[in-house]
């Protein structure tokens, strides 16, 4: 393992510098795109299909997870043509409940692992947890990187850990959470993205949702640009998942604009782009219904879970 991977380990010199003001300017320009009418409806449904409907609370119960799974499969049956979400994201101990409820629906089960959200544990425990979650039926593993080691410049440690988790995933897809809210600079976001992709990530993901700020547009742009460069260098597509803090349809559409203008059409589907969110689903639904009826909606008409 170490022998085969070591030659590919990451060096910071591979990552370009990032200018924060320039990123903000590009973001500001993208947020000014005006998405109206049929384009808006199409985007709202697309965003719906990209949701990783998430519940990550210590008080989660099997009952709550079951409800969430039903919502995932049937977001709003009153209006036909609304797609199911991409996945349900839970803690490992609730994977089995979710898997059973979603059986046959095509909606994936994602499990957070590796001592989520802090990652403050041993590698042995992290790998064990990963294997356990996969064994319980998780299709996707959302791991966290060791931010402490990353910020200390121990890139090889972080690289090897991701590579080991990837191996422990087996057939399951690996999403690597950078927890960008703890990385301080966009330069670090870029470095962590490059490192994670090189170490074997299938997706890179902004945040756990437990740290503020969670996903932001500038951070997502930097990660999408890293994915683009990685694609041109290796020919390999990597997925992207902003998570946390994306609560409105308007904001979700701005993310889609960003994907469209950075990576192009091939990434505009749930295989390559996901939203990690919970309350976003209902706002998307309200906007979809509004587009159909022409009337602004109230949350009272949409089930919370």
């Amino acid at each position: 393992m170490r022998e085969t991977r070591s030659a590919l380990r990451y060096s910071v010199t591979e990552s370009p510098a990032i200018d924060q003001v320039g990123v903000d300017e590009r973001v500001s320009r993208m947020t000014k795109r005006s998405i109206k009418k049929e384009s808006k409806l199409q985007a709202l449904k697309l965003a719906m299909s990209m949701l990783d409907l998430t519940t990550l609370e210590a008080k989660d119960t099997p009952g709550k997870v079951r409800q969430l799974c039903i919502k995932a499969m049937h977001p709003h049956d009153l209006l036909p043509g609304i797609p199911a979400v991409a996945a349900v994201c839970v803690y490992p101990n609730l994977v089995r409940v979710a898997k059973e409820t979603l059986e046959g629906s095509g909606v994936k089960v994602a499990a957070v692992a590796t001592a989520f959200p802090s990652g403050m544990s041993t590698r042995k425990m992290k790998l064990e947890e990963t294997r356990w979650a996969v064994g319980e039926g998780a299709d996707e593993i959302d791991m966290v990187i060791s931010r402490g080691q990353f910020l200390a410049g121990e890139y090889n440690f972080v690289f090897d850990e991701i590579a080991a988790v990837k191996e422990a995933c087996g057939a399951a897809h690996l999403k690597v959470i950078l927890e960008t809210g703890e990385l301080s600079t966009l330069d670090n976001v870029r470095r962590a993205s490059d490192l994670a992709m090189n170490a074997g990530a299938d997706f890179i993901k902004t945040s756990t949702g437990k740290i503020q700020p969670a996903a932001t547009l500038p951070v997502t742009l930097v990660m999408l640009e890293a994915i683009r460069d990685y694609y041109y260098t290796t020919g390999k597509m990597i997925g992207m998942k902003p998570a946390g803090g994306i609560a409105t349809a308007k904001l979700a559409l701005q993310y889609l604009v960003m994907v469209r203008e950075t990576l192009g059409q091939d990434w505009l589907n749930p295989d390559w782009f996901r939203f990690g969110a919970s309350s976003l689903a209902n706002d998307l639904l309200m906007q979809i219904v509004k587009e159909h009826t022409g009337v602004y909606q109230s949350i009272d008409y949409f089930s919370k879970d």
């Binding site: 510098a17 200018d19 320039g22 005006s34 990685y230 290796t234």
Partner: protein, 492 residues
């Protein structure tokens, strides 16, 4: 990362999810069918008895007729400006003068949306730019200079400032309202009166500004706005009652004006052409640099005197930068200037389009490799797809001459010394750009570029507090900021 796959399919930016048309509403725009000359506080019929049409370059449809000021009209405007200078404006307490200028700023803000729409209709620029840049910046200019009116003693250390008198101002078609603000605001703050001539293809927002000046109740004659073409401009420059000429436009016309003013004792500022070098070092924040290159050359269809039209990329990142530029080109929306999603609008006039086309031909004939975005353009109106040229050299005409369109000439370089030499090897010296992550190199390069405005790790930024103007054949004097006030003052 280490292993490069030989051929990777380029990213796909077409098909799939696209933006629907999102046109800005024109309902709130109030335009007259015919505009007269704004002289002595009122709209008056031209003594010349002539009008000409101004058209929308995106549709080629007529918008309105505009008066053509003849020599007698120019004389009448200058005379009223002189009367206002001697009788009112020159005597008014400075703080009152300032308050008038503040008023103009405020009304412009209130009518910002209408002004933006008219600017885009008359000139072809995307509504995103007129709405977010031209109009707010124009209002900000009035705000900035309004505050100077009663603080002039601090502008010229150790000297006593005095106004110059009647100023004749001639502005171009690329930023019609913004250039009017750049000219009028400092002139008024310094205590001068104004005769302004907007460009013949984009007179409407200046005429709307005349309405605003009326609404602000400025004393008659303090600002006069007269429309017309080159002969009107020449009459204004040559009028003996004008004390100072301020011109923004081409270097060719600037030289004619400078020559015409020889021996007259009139003061002048000239803001002329450019052919700016935008220099990308290998350690630059590449994606932001690419955005800076795009913004540098495609802002306002490239109709920008400070456009970064000569791109120099360090050899080791040349391929990457060109690939990124090509990808970015595919996401630029070209079309209806009034669509909120449009990035590149219409070319300002048929004449300008012909000029750009001529240069595209020259570029290809000189052996340049031309790349254009795959986008389609409307059948009516004047359009040019965003264009890149590689395989060009320092001697290529598209590298040496100002095209004033969305055309970028790309060259590579190896060393700092080489690129500085190439960047400065041109008669112009208006602006330049440098992109590097290394602090000491930024100051080295910005220091050595012979240009009046240097953007480091950014490009095409403007602010009322920031002086703008050129070295060498790019002009004389500065506009904006403290230094932009000085040409409108004499010190005794």
């Amino acid at each position: 990362m280490k292993k490069t796959k030989k051929s990777v399919t380029p990213l796909n930016f077409t098909g799939g999810w696209d933006y629907a048309p999102a046109p800005e509403s024109k309902d709130h725009v109030q335009l007259k069918d015919r505009y007269d000359l704004f002289i002595n506080g009122a709209f008056v019929k031209p003594l010349s008895g002539k009008w000409f049409d101004t058209i929308n370059p995106a549709t080629e449809k007529r918008i309105a007729a505009v008066a053509e000021a003849g020599e007698k009209d120019v004389n009448s405007a200058v005379t009223s400006a002189r009367k206002a200078y001697d009788g009112v404006w020159g005597k008014m307490p400075a703080k009152e003068r300032g308050k008038y200028i503040y008023r103009i700023a405020r009304i412009m803000q209130e009518r910002a949306r209408e002004l933006s729409v008219i600017e885009s209709m008359d000139g072809g620029k995307p509504i995103r730019e007129s709405r977010d840049i031209d109009v707010p910046l124009a209002a900000a200019h009035f705000f900035y200079y309004a505050g100077w009116a009663d603080k002039l003693a601090y502008a010229l250390p150790g000297a006593t400032p005095r106004s110059v008198g009647v100023t004749g101002q001639i502005i171009p078609w690329n930023f019609p309202l913004l250039m009017a603000a750049w000219k009028i605001a400092p002139a008024l703050a310094a205590g001068n009166t104004v005769v302004l001539k907007p460009a013949e293809t984009t007179p409407l927002t200046a005429l709307k500004l005349a309405e605003i000046i009326q609404e602000a109740d400025l004393p008659p004659g303090v600002v006069n706005i007269i429309t017309g073409a080159g002969t009107t401009g020449a009459a204004l420059v040559n009028h003996p009652g004008v004390n100072k000429v301020a011109f923004t436009g081409s270097t060719d016309v600037g030289k004619i004006i400078q020559k015409a003013l020889a021996g007259t004792g009139k003061r002048y500022t000239l803001e002329l052409g450019g052919k700016a070098a935008n220099i990308i070092f290998e350690d630059a924040a590449i994606d932001q640099a690419v955005e800076g290159i795009i913004n540098g050359i495609f802002f306002n269809q490239g109709h920008v005197c400070c456009a970064g039209s000569r791109l120099f990329v360090q050899e080791s990142v040349m391929k990457t930068v060109v690939r990124k530029l090509k990808d970015r080109l595919e996401t630029l929306v070209v079309g209806d200037p009034l669509d909120k999603n449009t990035d590149i609008g219409a070319i300002n006039s048929r004449m300008q389009l012909e000029k750009i086309k001529k240069y595209l031909k020259i570029g290809v004939n000189e052996g340049g490799e031309m790349y254009q975005a795959a986008c389609s353009v409307p059948s009516k109106g004047f359009w040019c797809k965003p264009t890149l040229f590689t395989n060009v050299s320092q001697s290529s005409r598209i590298v040496q001459e100002e095209i004033f369109g969305p055309v970028l000439a790309i060259q590579s370089f190896r060393t700092l010394e080489e690129v500085i030499e190439k960047a400065n090897n041109i008669p112009y010296g208006l602006s330049g750009g440098v992109w590097t992550d290394k602090g000491s190199r930024i100051f080295k390069v910005t220091g050595e570029l012979r240009a009046g405005v240097v953007w480091a790790n950014t490009y095409n930024k403007f602010d009322p507090t920031s002086p703008f103007g050129g070295y060498k054949e790019s002009g004389v004097g500065r506009e904006g900021g403290l230094h932009g006030l000085m040409p409108y003052l004499q010190h005794v």
